[in-house]
Symmetry: C2
């Protein structure tokens, strides 16, 4: 119906397609894949994505400072700062200042936080499995590898 321009739908005027533009494709795939999982941790724990990321890092890699989370998760320090405050308010983590350098404080999950992490990690694994259900082992391996490379992880 909308054909008042010179680009007829379905016909290529150039080869710059959706499927040919990787950033677009990656964003759509990322959004699609995050949607249901996000609904889960938002609904069950009232967490934002930033909070889930921080919880994830502490749960998976152990206690560390906010700075370390910034570096590992590539989040800006203000984002981390606010996420940490929110998680602390939810009693999911505690802060303990260093004695030899009081600028730092180690962030560690409480048992409540670990419980939430365990739940979300299990759920996450399930989401992941469902997502990869119709890929072969080899395809899955290649996909992950490619993404790690693009993400420069």
């Amino acid at each position: 119906m909308p054909k008042k321009d010179e680009a007829p739908p379905g016909e290529t005027v150039d080869d710059f397609d959706l499927r040919g533009f990787l950033p677009y494709l990656l964003n759509m795939a990322a959004e699609e894949s995050s949607a249901s999982f996000q609904r889960y941790y938002k609904g069950k724990y009232g967490m934002l994505r930033t909070e889930w990321r921080v919880l994830f890092h502490l749960g998976r890699y152990g206690a560390m400072t906010a700075k370390e989370i910034c570096d590992r998760a590539r989040m800006h320090k203000t984002k981390v700062s606010r996420a940490v405050a929110a998680l602390q308010a939810k009693r999911f983590l505690t802060r303990s200042p260093w004695e030899d350098d009081r600028r730092h404080e180690t962030l560690a999950l409480t048992s409540q936080g670990r419980q939430a992490y365990a739940d979300l990690a299990a759920q996450g694994k399930q989401f992941d499995r469902a997502l990869m259900a119709d890929f072969s082992q080899e395809e899955a391996r290649l996909l992950r590898q490619a993404l790690v490379r693009i993400a420069k992880l």
Copy 2:
């Protein structure tokens, strides 16, 4: 960085890794791949990502209504509404109401808009090529295919 498998004291090691969690991986890759391109259209045209998406759809697929953009780009109507207003203010598109149903209006790029699209599309193709530089043809094909599937495009 160290990919050492360490667990917090008293906790069990699990296999829920960064590299094993697809939504996380996709988000990181998407962010990484969008960064430099975003800087380009933001710097040169003062566009937001939403505006670029709308411009992209109109430039690539021809004139259409806001609703069609919502559906194709999976953007919420408020986002599209505001992006359209911004692009109109920049003289990148015009609106023409339908005569038989005045709820609709066809959005079409102006020559200025088409010029911006041509520039950004060319730039985008380059970004894409650079991104895929160290993948084989076969890997690239597989990656795109997998992303299309995950994104349900």
